[in-house]
């Protein structure tokens, strides 16, 4: 077995299996740890400028990857006209930049605020490193090896499907540029880290908030606020 065969044909399964088992285990044994461990009460101003762009950016980018994986033919159909290809790529690039800039703000915020350093674990630091590598190599790929939205359908989608179908086709990815290979392998590290970090909050997002009726909060007896002390 060559190094490539191990990294692209075996390592992904190791990450996925560990992630599934550990996620289930954590849910069964420590259900209430499924949280983002928000630090909003400790620091909110920088969080706003980082968290909003990070979350909207990464959700958009992940959604685009998912569409490319599930219906690659549709992406190729859309890209049949170069102008449409450029629109899709530029939109993806903006989302990638949003994620990158947001993440950098969040990293700087966490490592420069003494109150946040107290509540940061080693796993948080590892997770930030993995996320940064992932987003940075993604943006670098978009610039250096354009147009990924098209070639994703040729290389990445069939490779990912070959993983799902339990017959990994390493030949599709083993000759891609190093930046792209790091992006793919780091994605599996991201999956591996899922149950061991605060990433689990992706499973406890209060999605119901979107459609539940709004709540009106009223004061029973409102007293004059005296202002800052």
């Amino acid at each position: 077995m060559t190094f490539s065969e191990f990294m692209f044909g075996v390592f992904p399964y190791m990450c996925i299996v560990i992630a599934i088992v550990a996620t289930t285990w954590r849910y069964v044994t420590d259900k209430f740890s499924y949280s983002s461990l928000s630090s909003q009460f400790l620091e909110n101003r920088n969080l706003f400028w980082g968290s909003i762009t990070w979350h909207y950016g990464i959700l958009g980018v992940l959604a685009a990857h998912l569409v490319g994986f599930l219906i690659p033919g549709t992406i190729l159909w859309w890209n049949m006209e170069p102008v449409r290809l450029y629109i899709l790529e530029t939109t993806g690039f903006v989302l990638g930049l949003m994620a990158l800039v947001g993440l950098v703000i969040l990293i700087v915020r966490r490592f420069t605020n003494s109150r946040l350093m107290v509540v940061s674990s080693n796993m948080d630091k590892i997770l930030y490193a993995v996320l940064f590598i992932q987003v940075f190599t993604g943006v670098l790929t978009a610039i250096s090896y354009r147009w990924g939205s098209s070639w994703f359908a040729g290389f990445a989608a069939p490779y990912l499907w070959s993983i799902v179908e339990l017959r990994p086709n390493v030949s599709l990815v083993e000759n891609l540029p190093l930046t792209v290979q790091i992006h793919i392998l780091n994605a599996f590290v991201f999956i591996l880290l899922f149950p061991f970090t605060r990433l689990v909050h992706m499973l406890s997002v209060p999605i119901k908030y979107i459609w539940r009726p709004h709540q009106v909060v009223r004061w029973n007896s409102r007293k004059e606020i005296l202002g800052p002390f």
Binding site: V94, L97, M98, R146, F155, L172
Partner: protein, 269 residues
């Protein structure tokens, strides 16, 4: 005395057996040679690479085996024959095709056998339409094998706009790189790059599509190669950065009241 003869026979057998068991097979070599046909013929003249007829008698066997397995390393080491060949063939380096040592020996056995026979007469090339070739390149007309259009990975000076992709090489001068109609046509049907082989080895493009591409690349061959795609770096990346700034302006407008409800009345800042 008799036992002495038998010992000799047994020894001879032991020496010959490995040769029989591990001798190179021209049949297996013919199959493995499919990785080479994009650039080489045996007796039908040079394409992107040299005609390999009688190459086994011209060059040292060990050199040939290593050259087939790791041409990139030999070029990097500055091997004199390899460097000379590179210069002779339009500076197109021979790519490593993932050939094992056993396969390399089989290939050489096949070349040796095929060198003694007359090459099969070449099929006449189909005539293509450059306009259809351009449509196929851009993706306006889908490839019959469902693969992504060339523009996803390749740039060429003709297409304008933000240009083509940068995963693969610039294809503007592909026609002359592969030595004209015949060489390019064969290369398109059997892509020599290991990355492309990942997609196209199982689902090659059709012969008529290869003819359309050949006609189109003959046309683009007249254009100069743009070293850097300035359009993309200025307009593409510029638009991305502008988009990011607009997003931040939008965010600050949407959440403009975020501190006015509680924080400023309570904390005063």
């Amino acid at each position: 005395m008799i036992s002495g003869i038998w010992r000799l026979k047994a020894l001879a057998l032991l020496l010959i057996l490995p040769q029989i068991a591990f001798s190179a097979s021209p049949e297996a070599g013919e199959k493995a040679f499919q990785k080479c046909i994009a650039c080489h013929t045996i007796g039908s003249g040079p394409l992107a690479g040299p005609d390999l007829k009688d190459v086994t008698t011209k060059r040292d066997n060990a050199w040939l085996i290593r050259w087939i397995i790791e041409p990139d390393k030999m070029l990097a080491e500055g091997d004199s024959i390899a460097t000379e060949l590179l210069k002779e063939f339009n500076n197109i380096p021979m790519p490593p095709m993932g050939v094992t040592e056993a396969e390399a020996k089989d290939i050489l056995a096949y070349i040796k056998a095929a060198s003694t026979s007359e090459p099969a007469p070449a099929k006449p090339l189909m005539k293509g339409d450059a306009e259809i070739g351009k449509k196929l390149f851009l993706g306006r007309q889908a490839l019959s094998n469902g693969a992504p259009a060339c523009v996803g990975c390749h740039q060429n000076t003709d297409i304008g706009g933000l240009g083509g992709g940068a995963l693969g090489v610039d294809l503007t001068k592909l026609y002359s790189r592969y030595g004209g109609d015949k060489g390019l046509n064969i290369a398109l049907l059997n892509p020599p790059s290991p990355i492309m082989a990942g997609i196209f080895s199982k689902q090659p493009i059709s012969e008529i599509e290869a003819a359309h591409f050949t006609a189109y690349f003959k046309k683009t061959n007249e254009l100069p190669v743009e070293e850097v795609n300035t359009e993309f770096f200025i307009k593409g990346i510029g638009t991305g950065i502008l988009g990011l700034i607009l997003v931040y302006i939008l965010i600050s407008l949407i959440w403009i009241k975020r501190l006015k409800g509680v924080r400023i009345p309570m904390v005063g800042k």
